[in-house]
Amino acid sequence: MADYYSSFDPKGSRWMLQRLTAAFLVVVLAFHFMLLHFVNHAADVTFMQTHLRMQQPGYFLTMVAFLVTATFHGVNGVYNALVNQGLDGTPKTVVKYGLVLASLLLIAQGIRVAMAMAGFIIGPAA
């Protein structure tokens, strides 16, 4: 039994967040798939089309929210799977902070990509 309270998990908030992000992702992931494989075809994607979509603020914000929630849901899932396998002690702390770092990097890179697609930062030469 844990004798200390980890600051990372104040009493089940990660459990709750996992469910909340799940509900959000069910809708958005399905929408993302529909849009990019059925409405448009992945094979036909060009930067121009991506740019046009990402320029709409609603779509842009949805995609960023998608990125953040998916990262949390996925990385939290991985962390839980490892704890269930018996991850403990020092390796657990190392993994935990490693995963946090990886998530932050992913989100940062994802936002950079989103900005580049939308043209919010001065785009690179075509």
């Binding site: 469910r19 992702l25 992931l29 494989h37 930067f47 992913l106 950079r112 990509v113 580049a116």
Partner: protein, 130 residues
Amino acid sequence: MSQSYDRGLVEDFGRWREFSAGMWAWIFHKFTGWVLIGYLFTHIAVLSTATVGTTAYTNTISGLESLLVVRFLEVGLLAVAVFHILNGLRLLFVDLGVGLEAQDKSFYASLVLTGAIVVASVPTFLAGAI
């Protein structure tokens, strides 16, 4: 007491034929989860070509999409994502305490529905590459 014998976890997977629905659901959900998080990182990496330039982005994507193996991988991705979504919905219902009596039936339903959706989507996914 003399030393006791630890039969270990290995024998677990040897008994796969005896697994219950709930156990399969747990295994598949974990497996599809790992695949999806792996894909998320790869996806952002591929999309990062957008920061390099417009042509780099377009060419990378159409280049990948022209490979037949990539199309098949996409069908696999669809299967994985659809199962994770459907079983995830099942888990959300379980967490709300709804329909616990039918939890194993709802797992089988997710499998069947996943299969149906994947099969129905194959033509769309393979269009233009076969």
